[in-house]
C-alpha cells in the first residue's frame, strides 16, 4: 500500500518548483496549461468514446441502428435488445458458466498461490529464486504452445465441455501474478507479529492463518480481482475446450453471437450483450481502481 500512496505526495512538488520563476514563465504556463487540458481531453475521448458508442448502439431502435449517417444519440431509447439477447440462445447459461469458472479459478489460484508465496516470503530453504523464476516463466508461455496437448489430455480424461478443463489452465496461468504479488506483500509485513505468535506456541500454519492472512487481506483482494478479470476474459482455451453452445463461457459466446434466423448481423444484440458483460467489469474496476493499478504496477516495478 505504501507504493500506492507515495505518488500523491510527489505530484504536488513539481508545481511548487514551477513557482520559482513567476513572471517570465506566466504566458508559457498558460499555454502549457491549455495544451495539457487538450491532451487530457483527447486521452479521455480516446479511452471512452468507443465504449460510449457501443452503449449507444445497444440502445438504438433498429431503424436508427441502420441509418446513414449514424444518429449521434439513441433517441428514442429502445431497450428491446436487452430483452432479446436472452431469448433463443443459452446466453444466461454462458454468463453463469463464466461466473462459475472465474470464481473457482480465483479461489483455487489464491489458495495455492498464497501457500507458495508464504513459503517463499517467510521460510528458509534453498532454491527460492529457481522457484520464483519457474513461476514467472509460465507467464511468458504462449497459450497456443500448450493448447493442443492439453486438448488431447482433456479428451482422454473426458473433460471436454467440463468447467474443470478451464479452471485448471486458468489457475496455472494466474499463478505467476498471484505468487509474485503475494510474495512481495507477505515480505512487507513485519515478521515480529508471527514470531510472537510462534513464541506463544502457535504452529507456523496457525500463525499463517491467524496472523498473516488477515493482515494480507488487501493484497489477497487485489490478486483476486486481477485473477477474476483474466479468467472472465480468456478466449483461446475457452473456445478450444468448450464445444457446445451451452458450455461456452462469455467470450466464445460473444464471438459467435449471431441472430436467430436472420442473415443480417444483429449489431443491436451484439452490442447489448457486450454491454451486459462489460458494465459489471467496469464498475468493479472503477470501485477498486487504486488496488488494481498498484497490483498491476507493483510486479513490474519490483520485478
Amino acid at each position: 500500500m505504501a507504493t500506492a500512496r507515495l505518488p500523491l505526495e510527489h505530484s504536488a512538488a513539481p508545481a511548487a518548483g514551477r513557482r520559482l520563476r513567476p513572471r517570465r514563465g506566466a504566458p508559457i504556463r498558460l499555454w502549457s496549461g491549455i495544451v495539457h487540458l487538450l491532451l487530457i481531453a483527447l486521452l479521455l475521448a480516446f479511452c471512452l468514446a468507443p465504449f460510449v458508442w457501443l452503449l449507444e448502439t445497444s440502445l438504438k431502435t433498429p431503424d436508427d441502428l441502420y441509418s446513414i449517417p449514424p444518429k449521434l444519440l439513441p433517441v428514442p431509447v429502445d431497450v428491446r435488445n436487452y430483452v432479446t439477447i436472452w431469448q433463443g440462445r443459452p446466453f444466461l447459461q454462458n454468463v453463469f458458466n463464466s461466473a462459475a469458472v472465474a470464481s473457482a479459478a480465483t479461489a483455487v489460484s489464491l489458495l495455492i498461490g498464497a501457500l507458495c508465496a508464504y513459503a517463499l516470503a517467510r521460510l528458509r530453504f534453498h532454491g527460492k529464486s529457481l522457484i520464483l523464476g519457474t513461476v514467472l516463466a509460465v507467464s511468458m508461455f504462449p497459450g497456443i504452445a500448450i493448447v493442443s496437448p492439453l486438448y488431447l489430455f482433456f479428451s482422454r480424461l473426458e473433460l471436454i465441455n467440463s468447467k474443470t478443463a478451464l479452471v485448471l489452465p486458468y489457475v496455472t496461468f494466474t499463478l505467476p501474478l498471484c505468487v509474485w504479488l503475494l510474495t512481495a506483500f507477505f515480505r512487507d509485513l513485519p515478521p515480529d507479529l508471527e514470531e510472537a505468535a510462534l513464541v506463544d506456541g502457535a504452529t507456523p500454519l496457525g500463525a499463517f492463518r491467524n496472523v498473516i492472512v488477515p493482515l494480507a487481506a488487501p493484497g489477497v483482494f487485489t490478486a483476486a480481482i486481477l485473477i477474476f478479470i483474466f479468467a472472465w476474459n480468456e478466449f483461446l482455451f475457452a473456445r478450444t475446450f468448450m464445444n457446445s453452445a451451452e458450455s461456452y463461457t462469455v467470450p466464445p459466446a460473444i464471438s459467435m453471437f449471431e441472430g436467430t434466423g436472420t442473415f443480417v448481423i444483429p449489431w443491436g444484440q451484439i452490442t447489448a450483450a457486450s454491454a451486459v458483460v462489460t458494465v459489471p467489469l467496469i464498475v468493479l474496476v472503477l470501485l477498486f481502481q487504486r488496488r488494481i493499478i498498484s497490483g498491476l504496477t507493483a510486479g513490474a516495478i519490483k520485478g
Partner: protein
C-alpha cells in the same frame, strides 16, 4: 560436561526445527509447482515430441510415425508461415512502438497534478478491463462498411469520398487490427510508465530547474534515463503479448481477408483445430514458444546489464 548437554540438545532442536521448516516449505510449494508441471511444462514437452512426428487426427490409421526435423524443414517452404510471421512482426513492431509513444504522452499528461486526475486514471482502465472479444466486435462495428461511425466521420471531414470496407480490404485490415490493439493496450503501458514516473524524486527536477534547465532538457536528461527500467519492463510485457496476439484478429477479421491478418497464433490454431494436423501444428506452436523465449531473454539481458551497471 553438564553445560554441554543443553547446548547439544539445543543444536538438535534447532536442526530439527530447520528440517521441519524445509519440510513445510516443500509441502506449501508443492501444489503450485505441480499445477505448473502438469498444465504448462508437460504440454510443452508433449508439443516438442509431437512436432517430431506426423500426427493428423483426420487420419488416425496412419499413426504417429517419427519424422525427425522434417516438420521444421517444412516451415522454410511454407509461404503461409512466412506470411503469418510477417503479419505478426508488423503488428508487434507498429503497435508496441505506437503504444510506447502514446503511453508516454498519456503518462506525462497524467503525472502533472490536476483536478480529476483519479478519474482520468480510472478511465485508462476501461480499455484494459474490457474483454478482448468484446473489443474486437466493437471495432468491427465501428469500422463497418455500411453503417460504421468511422466511415461517417471520415466522410464528414472529407478525408474519404465514399464509404470503404476497412476490414474487408487486404491493405487496410491489418491497420484496423493494429489500431484496435493500440486502443486496448496503450492504457496499460501508460499506467506502468506513470508508476515509473512517480518513483522519480521531485528534488531532482527542482535542482535542475534552479540550474536553468528547460522542460525538454529535463525530459531527456532526467525523466528518460530514470524511466529506462520501467520502459523496458513495459516493453517486455507488451512485446510478448503482441507476438502471441490471437483473440483480436481472430474475432475482428478472422485472419482475413484471405490471410492478410493471419498471425502466427491464428495459423497454428487453424492448423491444429481446423486441419487437425497436430504434428505440424505443434511445430508452429513450439516455434512460437522459441520466438517468445528469444524476446524474453533479449529484454532480460538488457535489464540485467542495466542492473549490473547500476551496482
Amino acid at each position: 560436561m553438564p553445560p554441554d548437554v543443553p547446548r547439544a540438545q539445543r543444536g538438535r532442536m534447532l536442526r530439527g526445527a530447520r528440517a521441519a521448516e524445509v519440510r513445510l516449505a516443500c509441502l506449501l510449494v508443492a501444489p503450485a509447482l505441480l499445477a505448473i508441471a502438469l498444465v504448462a511444462f508437460y504440454p510443452l514437452v508433449s508439443d516438442l515430441w509431437l512436432s517430431l512426428h506426423t500426427k493428423n487426427l483426420r487420419f488416425p490409421a496412419r499413426g504417429e510415425p517419427f519424422v525427425g526435423l522434417q516438420n521444421y524443414a517444412a516451415l522454410a517452404e511454407d509461404a503461409r508461415f512466412w506470411n503469418a510471421l510477417r503479419n505478426t512482426a508488423l503488428i508487434t513492431a507498429v503497435s508496441v512502438s505506437a503504444e510506447l509513444i502514446l503511453g508516454m504522452l498519456a503518462a506525462l499528461a497524467i503525472h502533472r497534478a490536476f483536478r480529476g486526475r483519479g478519474m482520468v486514471r480510472a478511465a485508462l482502465l476501461v480499455p484494459w478491463a474490457m474483454t478482448t472479444v468484446v473489443t474486437a466486435r466493437m471495432w468491427d462495428w465501428i469500422f463497418n462498411a455500411n453503417y460504421g461511425v468511422f466511415n461517417a466521420v471520415l466522410l464528414k471531414l472529407r478525408l474519404i469520398e465514399s464509404y470503404r470496407a476497412w476490414t474487408a480490404s487486404a491493405d487496410s485490415a491489418i491497420w484496423v487490427v493494429i489500431g484496435a490493439d493500440v486502443w486496448k493496450t496503450m492504457p496499460f503501458m501508460a499506467l506502468l510508465l506513470l508508476a515509473g514516473l512517480q518513483m522519480i524524486p521531485a528534488e531532482l527536477y527542482e535542482g535542475a530547474r534552479i540550474d536553468g534547465a528547460g522542460t525538454w532538457r529535463l525530459f531527456w536528461r532526467i525523466t528518460l534515463p530514470l524511466l529506462r527500467p520501467s520502459i523496458l519492463v513495459a516493453l517486455l510485457f507488451r512485446t510478448l503479448d503482441a507476438v502471441r496476439i490471437f483473440d483480436l484478429p481472430f474475432v475482428l477479421t478472422g485472419g482475413g481477408p484471405g490471410y492478410a491478418t493471419e498471425t502466427l497464433s491464428i495459423y497454428a490454431y487453424r492448423t491444429l483445430f481446423t486441419n487437425l494436423d497436430f504434428g505440424y501444428g505443434a511445430t508452429l506452436a513450439f516455434g512460437m514458444f522459441i520466438a517468445v523465449m528469444i524476446v524474453a531473454v533479449f529484454y532480460v539481458k538488457i535489464l540485467g546489464s542495466d542492473t549490473a551497471r547500476a551496482m
